[in-house]
Symmetry: C2
Subunit: 175 residues, 2 copies
Amino acid sequence: MKLGEGVEAAIHCAATLAGVDGNSTMPAAALAECFGLSPSYLLKHLNMLTASGILESVPGPAGGYRLARPAERITLLDIVLAVEGREPAFRCGEIRQRGPAKLDASAYVKPCGINAAMLKAERAYRAALDEVRLSAIVADYVSEADPRSVAAGCAFVERHQRPQRSVQKVQPSKA
Amino acid sequence: MKLGEGVEAAIHCAATLAGVDGNSTMPAAALAECFGLSPSYLLKHLNMLTASGILESVPGPAGGYRLARPAERITLLDIVLAVEGREPAFRCGEIRQRGPAKLDASAYVKPCGINAAMLKAERAYRAALDEVRLSAIVADYVSEADPRSVAAGCAFVERHQRPQRSVQKVQPSKA
């Protein structure tokens, strides 16, 4: 089972954006710099988050990204599904219906038990991710991480956030 | 999040092998035929299961595969880990330690909270898979699936299983 590397970047960026003031934004370049990532690599994931309604973007040279809703209403599941897609990890190819013992479709009306068991486990995974709010990730970071790291993170956000007058939203591809 | 297609094949093959008599084996070619899979594709996964101690193989033209222990002692987690590897789905690249705000290593002694939350969810997933025994998959199939499908599956196993005198084990690559 594998998650793309983009999940880590997406969660860290969303947590960082939870720290900007009011409706300020941060440019993708600053977020990329913050985590030592290529801006073009990161932009793909920021646009996925925007397309899923987790982030919103303000266009133009003074624009950037911000959370589209409060961090209390964003869960790790929201972010994982935005980046990885909503398809189940286990993809049933219905191989039970192949081979020489194949019967007509009426013999396969009930779902395959293997698929059902795999999907049940995945529901447990998603439920666990859905319990973790982005606000809790940030709160834990502030209270648990090394204070020097918290101070450096806050200073970085302070330095790179850009106040916005409007609450203009645009499509992810225009950001 | 994605699981390889081999997981479906591996579980179906293990469930099929739970139906062979005594220490009989089934050749890889029969298992491939049963699910309409390429034998070379399937062999890779059968060898993973053998390397993980879920299957054992008997070499030679009259050989094949069988479960290495009773189906009651094989879980879906065993099979998924055998095929997908034991690494977590979420791989933390410690991107928190990159970028211009990077501090010395002493600031990152505590694990990243994002990684911890992702791993916790994965433990829930694995626990759910570990609750499902291969014997339960087979029992549910026998009691729930269309009787024609069960009869065809049993007839296929009956036709292709090969009685073995010894309990000889070999390395997966020799199978």
